[in-house]
């Protein structure tokens, strides 16, 4: 037979269970805006064992069984992959859109300078004996060289900015890797102590997603409760409670741009990672730096190299107003690599515009402009790629535009996909203030009821004591 004390005990345990449920709802409300937080639920169950009263079994009230997170494992698995893809294409598109040197209407662009240079040569061809036209032609040649220098410098500056990005991201990734490894250990420890470390798992999910977005590393759970973070190339950034480190150093084979290295978890020497072995925003940076930006730079270099050499060949065969011959118009690198950044009007022509070879023969001085006309013909001549300078420049601008547009389209699609997955994940695991207020109210009512049980039992006991008295 149930004693009054038993009823008091039922009231007390039920009130405690409802307090736990209230506490969980409050915790959820408190974390309604916490990134990566998954709402928690406290499960209540009838307290066992039931009390035997003769042939009856009387219940013992309620108790809080456990507090678990509400997570959709499928969406959790999708999240890291979609965040990585979004970060990669977003970083690439942002980097490519940061370059304005190839804008069709940019002042001082190679297109504008090229047009002005050949225009000044046309003037010179008609007025070769006029020092003003000669000076103007040399000045426009200097503008053309400066335009190539500026364009190459702008592209290289954008690539250099991505190097700085990579270095910063590598440091950030190292912190996150160490964080995931530490949380792996803390989660294992908590579980060994019999508790469910929900908030630690949330923190690890946040670190995991951020690491995936930075490096493309994907989580691989093991049976012990750890997650390993594995890069697209198969190298592990995190294994259990050990984390590897990423660092960057200049690559002499790529104009000194940084290369990413992995200092592994197994004590092996650092290994260089190719772009394909990375993902996330680091891969996006590398894709932009060594993809469209490098292609554009190579094409600008090749154009400067081809054009400069073609003009030099004609210039060498002409005669300057001062009688000089066999001299170059431009000083150019020996190979196309770096030609745009170093091309200059030759020192002799820059110092003395009279040495600009506008005539084909000495007898044609001073008014002969036939060699200037031959220099003009270079404008329409095919360069090493089979196109003339104008078409080459147009193709360069179009090609860069297409790459950038494609990267942005991919980024938009990846962003939509990631937002969709995050939205579904939020729908499953996110905190709804309405839901939590209802739960809180429900727990509050049940708690009040449990207290009423205690009050009632107390009154019953009081009545009983008064009978005896």
């Amino acid at each position: 037979m149930a004693s009054l004390f038993n009823i008091l005990s039922i009231g007390a345990s039920s009130a405690a269970a409802q307090r736990s449920a209230s506490s969980t709802a409050s915790h959820n409300l408190g974390n309604a805006n916490t990134p990566g937080y998954a709402r928690q639920r406290t499960s209540l169950e009838a307290a066992l064992p039931a009390l035997s009263a003769g042939r009856m079994l009387l219940g013992q009230g309620a108790r809080a069984a456990n507090t678990t997170q509400v997570r959709n494992r499928f969406l959790e698995a999708q999240s890291a992959a979609t965040l990585s893809a979004q970060a990669r294409s977003g970083a690439q598109a942002d980097a490519l859109e940061s370059l304005s040197a190839l804008d069709p209407s940019a002042p001082g662009s190679p297109g504008t300078a090229l047009g002005a240079f050949f225009s000044s040569l046309r003037g010179l061809a008609q007025r070769a004996s006029d020092p003003g036209y000669r000076q103007s032609a040399v000045a426009s040649a200097q503008d053309l060289a400066a335009s190539f220098n500026r364009t190459a410098a702008s592209i290289e500056s954008a690539r250099g900015g991505l190097d700085a990005n990579l270095a910063g991201r590598a440091l950030e990734a190292n912190d996150l890797s160490a964080n995931v490894a530490r949380l792996n250990m803390e989660i294992r420890t908590a579980r060994a102590n019999g508790s469910e470390p929900n908030d630690l798992m949330d923190a690890r999910t946040v670190a995991r997603d951020a690491l995936a977005a930075l490096t493309g590393a994907q989580p691989v759970p093991d049976g012990a409760g750890n997650i390993s973070m594995v890069l697209p190339g198969g190298a592990a950034l995190v294994t259990g409670d050990r984390s590897a480190r990423l660092d960057t150093l200049p690559d002499p084979l790529n104009r000194g741009h940084t290369i990413v290295r992995l200092d592994g978890t197994a004590g092996s020497p650092p290994v260089a990672l190719a772009a394909a072995q990375l993902g996330g925003s680091m891969r996006g940076d590398l894709d932009a730096r060594d993809g469209a930006l490098k292609t554009a730079l190579d094409q600008v270099d090749q154009l400067a190299f081809d054009l400069g050499n073609a003009l030099n060949a004609v210039h060498r065969s002409g005669v300057g107003a001062d009688g000089s011959t066999g001299s170059d118009l431009f000083t150019i690198a020996a190979t196309a690599a770096g030609a745009a950044s170093t091309i200059q009007v030759s020192a002799a022509v820059a110092a003395n515009p009279q040495s600009l070879a506008a005539s084909t023969v000495a007898a044609g001085l001073p008014g002969g402009g036939d060699n200037a006309q031959r220099l003009i013909d270079v404008e329409s001549a095919s360069l090493s790629n089979g196109r003339n300078a104008s078409a080459t420049l147009g193709a360069l601008v179009s090609g860069y535009g297409s790459e950038t547009r494609s990267a942005r389209a991919t980024s938009d699609a990846d962003t939509l996909l990631a937002q969709n997955v995050q939205s579904l994940r939020e729908a499953a695991s996110g905190v709804s203030i309405d839901d939590e207020l209802i739960d809180l109210t429900r727990s509050q009512r049940a708690y009040e009821a449990a207290l009423k049980v205690i009050t009632t039992a107390d009154e019953m006991m009081d009545s009983l004591l008064r009978l005896r008295g």
Partner: protein, 294 residues
Amino acid sequence: MRVTDQMIFERAATSAGSARARAQKASQEVSSGMRVQHPWDAPAAAGQLVRSQLNQARMTTIASTASQAMDELDAADTALDGVQNAVIRARELAMQLASGTYNAQDRANAAQEVDGLFKQSVALLNSDVGGRFIFGGRADGAPPFDPVGAYSGDSGIRQVETAPGVTTQASVQADVAVKGVGGGVDVLQTLASLRTALQVNDVPGIQASLTGLSTGVTQLSTARTQAGNGSSLLQLASNVARIAVLQEQTQASHLGDADILDATSRLAMAQRVLEATLTASATTFKGTLLDHLR
């Protein structure tokens, strides 16, 4: 689908951001008047714009240089016309004074007139346009004829680009037209001979100059015809180049300029969408249990 508060705020931020981005893009188009500001706005059009700008620069310069060359040929034609008139007048005087009805004084007076014609011709043949001596060939930096009619120019022929890669002759070869290189007569020398013959009352000499003067008139006439033809050709080339510039400008405008009506309409639409998004978001924010439990 379960909707959390964070989803509502996220959606509001995303929708408002996207509406703002569209409004910003349309606003930029309206304010700049340009549809293609970056290569990625329209990659193919951006490449064509670069080529079109280069073509515009090329055709503008071709039009300008052809026009300048035409001015010089016109100036040469005017000068040759003056020289031709001088030679015709000299021939009239020669024909007149070759007759026995005139005495030595008459011929001495005529010699003075021929001397004036000679000097006038030399001055005309030393014409310059913008400092360029148009009868000097490539030696165009100094007057090509000295006071006695000696020629210091050369046989260089000036070529002017009339279309990309196409050139045409745009100068008068004074050595041929005036000095008679290649089978003609030296016009100035013929005038000088007449002057001398008149001064010394040399009637046979005066008669002998008549053939040379007639040949000179024909020679100058031929040169003027060539100059006229060249001028017409350059006029045509200049006009064609200017039309090409206009066509390039039109094409560039089609490629790169914003359709202001369309952009304004898109701007208005984007602003309307933004207002609707903000209103919808504000309404959604209010509908929570929290408001009713207070």
